[in-house]
Symmetry: C2
Subunit: 308 residues, 2 copies
């Protein structure tokens, strides 16, 4: 039985799964990412688990894909990830390959999820699309000519760090006015706080419930978030001209408050030639398995190369 491993490194927990040739998750598990200054302990734990499961199935591990914040496809390193305790440049792919003794590839989580949408979701026949994750921040993967746009550095596709409003909201990246400070769950929370004048930081879930109850400020906070997001996406179309745009992640599940508004402002801001031609769609990836499937999608075509 041929198996592929997918690892998704997060700030608090790391998910791992084994996937078969059909894309079914055979086993999965969650580990604490840990607080140690080095990643060796986590990599050892992940590898031991993967190898035990592969042996238990009398399987063969073909390759391992990894999604991680600030993951660089070219170097296989996690570079200066602000929400991980490992500092500097961590050769995560190389360390993992040394233990697993199989090909390993690593990229950032949004790129991995975009590949997951292509291989296991609903973008299978699409060669040009944007994949947007709306969570604490805004992540994105740009697929062009059927491949992720990595750019020279490996860090292309960061739509969340386009400066939309110079001098605007403070961003975690150290600059001001980045799109993710407006177009994300955190952005929604900040907008709601500005509208209500409350000091408290409510959750996006709370604001969603309030909007469903018809509270004007909550509805308006969503509308403003859609306005920012619609403009960002329309500008992205001018640059990359995708066939469609997938929205994924927690905030995208507030469907009735995100999709109609975003589509409205998106169409308003599009150039004439693009109006009505670019669909904004919900991702078809299952939310809980998306991270593992995305990571596996990085290497799921590695079978041919290694069985020949």
């Amino acid at each position: 039985m041929e198996l592929w491993a997918g690892i998704d490194v997060g700030g608090t927990t790391t998910q791992v799964g084994l996937v078969d040739a059909s894309g079914r998750i055979v086993y999965k598990n969650t580990f604490l990412t840990g607080t140690s200054p080095e990643p060796h302990e986590l990599i050892r734990a992940l590898s031991v688990w993967i190898q035990a499961k592969v042996q238990g199935l009398k399987g063969r591990l073909m390759a391992c894909g990894i999604g991680a914040p600030n993951g660089n496809i070219w170097s296989g390193c996690i570079e200066h990830a602000p929400n991980l305790t490992w500092k500097g440049i961590v050769p995560f792919a190389e360390l993992t390959a040394a233990r697993l003794k199989c090909p390993v590839q690593l990229t950032n989580d949004a790129n991995a999820a975009a590949l997951g949408e292509m291989r296991f979701g609903s973008a299978g026949n699409k060669k040009e699309f944007l994949f947007i994750t709306l969570g604490t921040g805004l992540g994105s993967g740009i697929v062009t000519d059927g491949k992720i746009l990595y750019g020279h550095s490996g860090f292309a596709g960061e739509l969340g760090h386009v400066i939309m409003y110079p001098g605007g909201r403070d961003c975690g990246c150290g600059r001001k006015g980045c799109s993710e400070t407006y177009c994300s769950a955190t952005g929604l929370v900040r907008t709601y706080r500005e509208l209500t004048g409350e000091n408290e930081n409510h959750t996006s879930r709370f604001i969603y419930e309030k909007a469903r109850e018809g509270e004007a400020e909550a509805v308006e906070a969503f509308d403003i978030t859609c306005r920012h997001l619609g403009l960002l996406l329309a500008n992205s179309v001018a640059v990359t001209s995708p066939e469609c745009i997938y929205l994924f992640g927690g905030l995208s599940h507030a469907t009735e408050f995100i999709f109609p508004g975003t589509i409205k402002y998106f169409e308003e801001n599009l150039q004439q030639i693009f109006k009505g031609t670019v669909q904004i769609l919900p991702s078809a990836l299952p939310e809980h398995d998306a991270a593992i499937l995305g990571a596996v999608a990085l290497v799921h075509d590695f079978r041919e190369a290694y069985t020949l």
Copy 2:
């Protein structure tokens, strides 16, 4: 003698040239684009000229590349070009191929120029770069993985139509706040008019001369233009992560007022990981031949395909 034809269709004049295998322009000529509602007359005149020159050299015409406003690589059509008298969708490549009886490709002028920089300029070894033309508007070609990013529609790479300032200056595309209304020769002229309060529209050349004389408003108009352009380019890096950025076109020749300022604001706006890593360079294409060389670059590798 193997020859390639390059055609650059402009609002007033159309340039045509014949280029040899080494990239040398053997002959060139300029035609009036004309005011007729159909392009047939222009295409006939261009074809007659090309065929006569090829025969005179006892040469062989390998292929023809065309750069044109709103040129679509996928369809070979010029689509709804606002500054041409031909309306609607014009199958310019097909009509030209029918006369020349050789392969013909067509794209927009900025994409063609980006390819020209790769084949005949200084981007030969670069696989990821941006090419920006600063003229009446702002044109751009995005090269990623060694190829132009055309996108699903064929119209990707329009950095000039990213809305930088919602509700801002009126743009020729019918929207407001597009980057080219700020970051172009026309943008400079508008900024200067705002600063001086004059009603007159001076040329960018006039403002350049004034800046050289030390006139405060002219110097400030350039500084503001650089601030807009630096931000636009920094945002483009977040999306496409190029190795370098080439500036081309009339305004880029105001070197001392464009490059230092643009680089300063560019670096200020870059994410930490990109600071100091992306060069902004002058194009190495000769200004007067760039359009022809760019058009030829579209098809200059068509030799192998057709002599085998």
